[in-house]
Subunit: 287 residues, 4 copies
Amino acid sequence: MSEKSPTAILLLSCKDRKGLVSRISNFIFERGGNILDLDEHVDPVEQMFFIRVSWSMQNFSVPLDELEEAFTPLAKEFKASWSISKQGVKHRAAIFVSKYDHCIQEILWRNSMEEFQIEIPLIISNHSDLESLAAHYKIPFHFFPINQENKFIQEAKELELLNTNQIDTIILARYMQILSPQFVEKYPNKIINIHHSFLPAFIGGKPYNQAYDRGVKIIGATSHYVTKELDDGPIIEQDIIRITHKDSVKDLIRKGRDLERRVLAQALYYHTQRRILVNGKKTIIFE
Amino acid sequence: MSEKSPTAILLLSCKDRKGLVSRISNFIFERGGNILDLDEHVDPVEQMFFIRVSWSMQNFSVPLDELEEAFTPLAKEFKASWSISKQGVKHRAAIFVSKYDHCIQEILWRNSMEEFQIEIPLIISNHSDLESLAAHYKIPFHFFPINQENKFIQEAKELELLNTNQIDTIILARYMQILSPQFVEKYPNKIINIHHSFLPAFIGGKPYNQAYDRGVKIIGATSHYVTKELDDGPIIEQDIIRITHKDSVKDLIRKGRDLERRVLAQALYYHTQRRILVNGKKTIIFE
Amino acid sequence: MSEKSPTAILLLSCKDRKGLVSRISNFIFERGGNILDLDEHVDPVEQMFFIRVSWSMQNFSVPLDELEEAFTPLAKEFKASWSISKQGVKHRAAIFVSKYDHCIQEILWRNSMEEFQIEIPLIISNHSDLESLAAHYKIPFHFFPINQENKFIQEAKELELLNTNQIDTIILARYMQILSPQFVEKYPNKIINIHHSFLPAFIGGKPYNQAYDRGVKIIGATSHYVTKELDDGPIIEQDIIRITHKDSVKDLIRKGRDLERRVLAQALYYHTQRRILVNGKKTIIFE
Amino acid sequence: MSEKSPTAILLLSCKDRKGLVSRISNFIFERGGNILDLDEHVDPVEQMFFIRVSWSMQNFSVPLDELEEAFTPLAKEFKASWSISKQGVKHRAAIFVSKYDHCIQEILWRNSMEEFQIEIPLIISNHSDLESLAAHYKIPFHFFPINQENKFIQEAKELELLNTNQIDTIILARYMQILSPQFVEKYPNKIINIHHSFLPAFIGGKPYNQAYDRGVKIIGATSHYVTKELDDGPIIEQDIIRITHKDSVKDLIRKGRDLERRVLAQALYYHTQRRILVNGKKTIIFE
């Protein structure tokens, strides 16, 4: 979808009831907005209402910085979870990495192609290996070695850094450390991870070895929001690739790299385009 | 999407302008309808507006048989192309076949599983081969052998038969005759064909032989609405399958059968679910 | 691969050592055979050798019914697991079903198209629902209702029936009963099951419900040889299909049906074409 | 397939006849080689024989630099096209680019991951845009602006440069110039191109615009060896991606980039692994 600026995007979920689309579209129409794209979904099991609507702000009677305030009464009435964002206002994302560079390379390259709407003010790593890559892209690199003893302290420093930099999105680009629950709860549905298996198969470590041992004919990768439970957060995107008996674990790793890159990039694309709403343990993706 | 009856579905396209979603959703809300699913698209190049909206008719103040009349003023104001259908009112489809049975088998079997919302009052063929299959499914089978000389007369008889049976959808399930332009224009965007190639590659006859000779690594199938121009109508669905140097033409035909079945069934699914709007030579598919 | 008769196919596995291909191809060459297709694989981890070779028996100096005897000395020397089959000699397969008909429909239809090299002398079911389908295809239908008490006796009767009919392949076409270990060990790597998930995810019952609850974006199906451990046998084929948040459990079941049909058919195709060797918990598939 | 060094790979094609596998495997066995992987194919239409065989050179009685000479008598007897290469001896590849960087980025990155067995001694371009990228990877960058008048002279200089650098593989990574027939014939089946469509659909310029106008539901990319006829050489690899009515031409270009990268990389992988034999207008890919 090509959406010319200035464009506003509303993401909203609430208990379903009659008139929601009508009220929301009237709100936009009455202020002179033209809807560019509207996608609405009702979960018939849980009777929940989900909507993403984008509209042109050209000649809109409310200035963009007053838009949230203007919409608040309606949102309160609906008891909604919601956010309004302006197309073109970029997410501020931090990338967490360890030693593997394929995922971060992919994201940095795609960002240079302007596929995402993000700024990347910093990279955090528990290893120093990728410092020169960060330097090449002129992004500050912060090295936080982590062990059992210092984990609490290091995470506290990381959080302070993220806070200072007004980070709203964290990308775990094959970051080989488990974030503490205390860390995770600071960024609900804002930490995107890539797991190198087709979840829920092969949770935890060394999924390619697990896949090789089981003799599967297809391997997968899964990008999800991080929750306190390991590899159990709401799934954003999954994809797969065929393997054969000829493939060694090394081949699986090679083929899987492509998958991981693609799946993480797609998840991040949805996230930065404000195309995701979380519904309990699941995601609504407005493609 | 599971939509419980009674449900109404509006498909509408018109020149884009402000307030369309608002006006349409108000129309539904004011009469007591609850929107179940709404998907809207604006073609930014042609400035055209497309919408599919379904709503629950429970407690709706307008009875279903007066719904079209009630909506007509709005539609006229928008100068729209539109249709309203009731979930559960089935399409009446005729299947045209020749000798191959895989596509018709697939459709008849899926219909017996209630995947489509169609009734099939008749099967028309230019060969008698599949008469017993029709008998098995207890569907009247009409044999119209066609040659250069009798084509005009036979098609006239077919049209009369279709008319008598109030047919609104024609499925060409590997029907190996080209319908005349006069026939086609009677059923605009209502004749669904399956072509056994990835259009626009390999138009016309023997596409599997063409694919074999060219040495492609992937073959495809395409389902489209029939227009006067051969294999050139709006594409509804396409899919592909991998082949290798080991595959003979016979293997391509075998693998292609699976593809043709699947692609035609998917196209018919969209059609019977009222999920397709035609935009010139293209389709909008509300998935 | 199109292979004209009369053709012999050797499937062989043994500990790897030098000269195996040479000795086997010499055996064929010296007797006047022309190799049509040879595929060989060495498992570098376990140092095992796997080969499938097919050759034209035209002018072959050993008659087909003496071929096994002629090859035995070589096989003994290699301490190999092996089988020789004649292209065109059909497998004798029994289909086990319960109530769902999509998988058995698919197999019977494909067999009528001569995609498989199988004869189907009987269908066994723990329900009577599909008796008329069997009648339509003129295949004897045997009804063995099974409960906790009679399982042992019923299975004994089934085994006798299979034995009488010289069955060498058993197809579990969504058979909703777990075969006893005693039954399974009679047909090692000869019982083909279809499980309606992407194994090892969602083992056991109601995988579509499990998938729905987890919020996956892709569902799968897996065909495997049955072993004593539930859903744990060597995987033959897997495939997947995308789903979205719009899909209900009912939609998953509908989409999954297509997948199950396709995956089981592909596994059976490999099996009947003698393209599978089992390597512990894994399969070698000579595509 | 992981093949440990030192390993030799034979690629050979000739008219089919009895005993070819036997003679070739005996050649290897008699000299003490152990076959690691053998794949053979007979084209039943053209009666042609194709083989790829790799074997361990450990304890082989012929030194690697005398291997070609040793095999020559057999090859002559078969009137074969053939080549022997040593696993680990790298191809020497030149990359031709214009302005788009996605394909060359992908290849350079993958090569840094050692996915290919190539050295890249030089990059040639008709634009200067990607000079700094070449510098980053420390690869000499040669700028040859080309127009109608200077084409012959510039290509002559390029050929000299390729010759000096002993280049055996040319990668056209979205090189937006058509090579002259005189240039092409110097590198038969050694120039790998990526075309951004599913050939033979949308030959020539602006295939994404063509795809958009036609309203296809899937776009593709094709990697092929370059011949004198535009976009008509033997196809090595193809892949596809789904698009919808929501996708603008810009979206097609974005989605297509991923496809182009992947397809070109896969083709190059096959090429550098010596897994390709050309059969007239087609390729045999030993996967």
